[in-house]
């Protein structure tokens, strides 16, 4: 089946564009970049077509990578039903976003570099998804973190972009530390990192109802997942990651990389199912993150930040789904989220592009007449994410909510309230952007505001070219109709979904919340625009707290970052490096010099002194020989 | 007879050596050294080393010392000025200490090698040219050849060093 071709095409694209792209023309770069992803997508289709219906996982062994004692790691790719879902998401949505990026990045510098990084990201993501052991997964894991760093800091001349890239990478590393420890424990316990062997071993073990090894492993893996998928406590990098170009936000921070954590948890379901404490932790973290992020998203004015917090919140839903045992529902939500979130980001990108760089919602308004296609597609996405029945978002979210209700009703109520908040803030953004009067700068001003997207000075808001609106339309169709893809049924052999009957009222609540949220947003931001501000004024202190993202960044800064910097500066730099190591080396030098300057006094130039020394030395030697008993 | 000659020759050698060390003019020192070499040559004869005695006189006293004398004359080295004023007391003490030192050495050697037998002139005649030649060209052939190279090097070195333009 040659699974290796799937990641190989983007890797080839990366190499060609990365090494030689400086001399290529834009059409050639486009061809290589988008073409490689297209080939990858087609190969995925061919593979899945050949393997359908994938009753057993299809494994391909390539070569032994590490052989050290009892550690035996080989490069294996495997395709099972879970992998198939992810392959389609990554290559399909990836292809659409690559196409979009051709138009979005038209006027940007470093064109070839952008597509090279994007292709590299595809390579690593596909490796992550296809890997059949934890170490190879980790390779992909780290690689996508690297590409995320490179792409967030794409506009590397802006300090906040590079800072954001650093933040993303460093926070991710904390999570990776947890992942590594988890992998070590897995190896210690099961003697291998290969999925088949680990899961077989795990299934033989009893369910651990107290805190034991399995719980420890799962919590450590969870730590890694929180880093990569931006959950509490390691979510702080995702909003800042919006400093990167919008296609990056769409691809990496909405559709694919951030779902790697969910993928990993779902893949390790055999482990998690044996550690109920860890599962509960997953669910609680997911729920808390969903709620927290939704509240912050209510107050933000930067359109990309709103969607960033929305991503964090929806990822929380996915974790909630996995945590309560509905793994397939979580994966289903990954897929639908990929559709509508990518669409939301790409649409936001189209808006920003059309406004030549403006990202502040307060400066937008009435864009419906300038960019009808964007307006319509974003409306579709917003309907989907709000949870309007029969659309994709509702299909997956409702399954999660029902599973939550079966697990613990209080989780359900918090989650469904959050769903209402979701509907509200997403439609708030839509109403602020597309309805009312245009509040931005008019055509006689060159807008160079906004982060990173260099304006081309059109002044008048305008619709984007087809290369950008095409993917928007495709994603809109998927967002609307994606709910009818029965992913849960597809994944059933792997993750059994217990469908019990839930009270009809419970089944209806999400829809009620969805429409309620949309209606409130309609009231606040279309009928009575001033109402929102007076509301904010009434809740002054609370509003400011939420607007400042609960000051979590400042808290982390004070508690973690500053002490580390101060400690590094005083202890490690001045103490150990400059004082200890430099001191030792310089001290050695000084010692040499000191000894030398004393010994050189013997070099008096007086030959007779030398002669005297010779005699003295020879007498000593003779005495020594004599004392030692002669030369016998 | 042998002890008698030994004492005379040894005394003469020591006298010349002291003279070598204490004379001011280099020529006097050189001639004293010739005296030492001569005494030693006769002592070698007593010890049965005919060839070495001859070589000593011919090479050492005849060639090397002549070279020394030539150089002294070439450099027109005069008598050494007494730059340091060594007090008489110091000089007397120095010599006394030297004598004591030498006495100690003698006694030490005497204690170490008491009964080694005696030397009589003519008791051993193994140091003939023939014997030395045989050994030189069989067992010690390599050192012999190396020595010739050494002499060549010394030759070249001396010529190079003594040129005008250095």
């Amino acid at each position: 089946m040659n699974l290796w071709l799937i990641p190989a095409f983007p890797l080839l694209g990366f190499l060609l564009n990365g090494l030689f792209g400086r001399r290529f023309s834009k059409p050639l770069i486009n061809l290589i970049a988008v073409g490689s992803v297209m080939l990858s997508f087609l190969w995925v289709l061919k593979t899945l077509n050949g393997l359908y219906p994938i009753e057993q996982p299809h494994l391909e062994h390539y070569f032994t990578w590490i052989q050290s004692g009892s550690l035996n790691i080989s490069v294996d790719f495997g395709v099972d039903r879970l992998t198939a879902v992810f392959l389609l998401i990554v290559t399909g949505v990836g292809l659409l976003i690559h196409t979009y990026a051709m138009g979005y990045m038209e006027h940007e510098g470093g064109y070839y570099r952008f597509f090279a990084y994007l292709n590299l990201f595809m390579f690593f993501m596909l490796t992550l998804v296809l890997a059949h052991n934890y170490l190879l997964l980790f390779v992909g894991w780290e690689g996508v973190g690297l590409c995320s760093y490179l792409l967030i800091g794409f506009y590397f001349l802006e300090k906040f972009a590079t800072d954001a890239g650093n933040k993303a990478f460093i926070v991710n590393r904390i999570g990776d530390f947890g992942f590594s420890l988890g992998a070590f424990l897995i190896f210690k316990q099961f003697g291998s990192l290969d999925f088949t062997q680990v899961f077989e071993g795990a299934n033989k073990m009893p369910v651990e109802n107290s805190f034991g090894l399995m719980t420890g492993i799962c919590l450590l893996l969870l730590l890694g997942a929180t880093g990569k998928s931006a959950q509490i406590p390691l979510y702080v990098w995702l909003p800042d990651a919006m400093a990167g170009p919008t296609p990056v936000s769409a691809l990496i921070h909405a559709a694919t990389m951030v779902t790697a954590g969910v993928y990993m948890v779902a893949r390790s379901s055999a482990l998690f199912l044996h550690a109920p404490i860890a599962m509960d932790t997953v669910a609680v973290i997911g729920l808390a993150t969903a709620f927290l992020a939704a509240t912050i998203g209510l107050t933000q004015f930067d359109i990309k930040k709103v969607f960033a917090y929305s991503t964090v919140s929806q990822l929380g839903y996915m974790f909630l789904g996995c945590g309560v045992g509905a793994f397939s529902a979580g994966i289903f939500h990954v897929m639908t989220h990929a559709f509508f979130k990518a669409l939301l980001f790409l649409g936001a990108g189209a808006v920003i592009h059309g406004l030549s760089g403006e990202q502040d919602l307060r400066k937008m308004g009435g864009l419906a007449k300038y960019m009808p296609i964007t307006c319509a597609t974003l409306a579709a996405a917003s309907l989907a994410i709000a949870g309007v029945p029969f659309l994709s978002g509702a299909a997956s979210k409702d399954l999660i909510l029902e599973a939550a209700y079966q697990h613990a009703p209080w989780m359900y109520w918090v989650a469904v309230f959050t769903a209402g908040l979701t509907a509200f803030y997403v439609w708030r953004a839509w109403f602020m952007a597309f309805t009312g009067e245009y509040r931005g700068k008019k055509q006689d001003e060159h807008a160079d505001a906004g982060h990173g997207h260099g304006g081309h000075g059109h002044g008048q808001p305008h619709e984007s070219p087809f290369v950008m609106t095409g993917p928007l339309i495709a994603l809109a169709l998927l967002s609307l109709g994606g709910g009818f893809l029965s992913v849960t049924k597809w994944l059933e052999p792997m993750f059994a979904l217990h469908e019990e009957a839930v009270p009809f009222m419970i089944r209806l609540m999400p829809a009620v919340m969805a429409f309620g949220g949309i209606f409130l947003a309609f009231v606040f931001y279309y009928l009575k625009p001033g109402l929102a501000d007076s509301f904010a004024g009434a809740f002054g202190g609370l509003y400011r707290l939420v607007f400042d993202k609960y000051r979590i960044d400042e808290f982390y800064n004070a508690v973690v970052v500053e002490p580390v910097i101060q400690g590094s500066r005083t202890v490690l730099w001045k103490g150990v490096d400059a004082g200890g190591i430099d001191g030792a080396v310089n001290g050695l030098g000084r010692l040499s010099r000191g000894t030398g300057s004393i010994l050189r006094l013997m070099q008096s130039g007086s030959i007779r002194a030398y002669a005297a020394w010779v005699v003295f030395g020879s007498v000593l030697v003779i005495l020594a020989i004599g004392v030692a008993g002669g030369l016998r | 007879m042998t002890p008698f000659f030994f004492i005379i020759l040894a005394g003469f050698a020591v006298f010349c050596a002291i003279s070598l060390v204490s004379q001011t003019h280099p020529i006097a020192s050189a001639l004293s050294l010739v005296g030492v070499m001569g005494a030693l040559a006769v002592l070698y004869l007593q010890l049965g080393a005919e060839f070495i005695a001859a070589a000593q006189m011919i090479v050492y006293a005849g060639a090397i010392m002549v070279l020394f004398v030539f150089v002294i004359m070439l450099l027109n080295a005069g008598a050494e000025q007494e730059a340091r004023r060594v007090s008489r007391l110091a000089r007397f003490t120095g010599m006394l200490l030297m004598a004591v030192f030498l006495g100690i050495i003698s006694l030490t050697i005497q204690a170490q090698f008491p009964k080694m037998g005696g030397v009589t002139f003519g008791a051993w005649v193994g140091g003939t040219a023939q014997e030395i030649g045989v050994l030189l060209f069989t067992t010690y052939l390599l050192p012999f050849e190396v020595t010739s190279v050494l002499i060549l090097i010394a030759l070249v070195g001396a010529i190079v060093l003594a040129r005008k333009e250095i």
Partner: protein
């Protein structure tokens, strides 16, 4: 003076004593004198003393190797004298002095 073991022979140790005395006198001259040629001659004196020791032991052991060694010492002394005097000549040409105290610029 100890009694002679045989009336007509010299104790071997006397030769060694003589050699030691000459050697020490050579060292004294080597360290004490200021004229470089005299120093050189003291070195020759030391070499002679050593030659005497070799011949003495060769007599005792009835082995001719000592003579060979003394022979080589002589050859080396000759070569050394030649080159050494050439160096002295050169130094004299440059420094115009024969006193080794005044040739002392090779210092720290």
């Amino acid at each position: 003076m100890p009694a002679l073991p045989f009336p007509d022979s010299v104790p071997l140790s006397w030769y060694l004593i003589l050699s030691a005395v000459l050697f020490c006198l050579g060292i004294a001259g080597f360290v004490y004198r200021r004229n470089v040629i005299t120093v050189f001659m003291s070195i020759e004196l030391m070499l002679n003393a050593v030659n005497l020791t070799f011949i003495t032991f060769s007599y005792k052991l009835k082995h001719i190797d000592g003579h060979i060694f003394a022979f080589f010492v002589m050859v080396v002394a000759a070569a050394e004298a030649a080159v050494g005097l050439a160096i002295i000549l050169t130094v004299f040409k440059n420094r115009h002095t024969l006193l080794i105290d005044e040739v002392n610029t090779l210092k720290w």
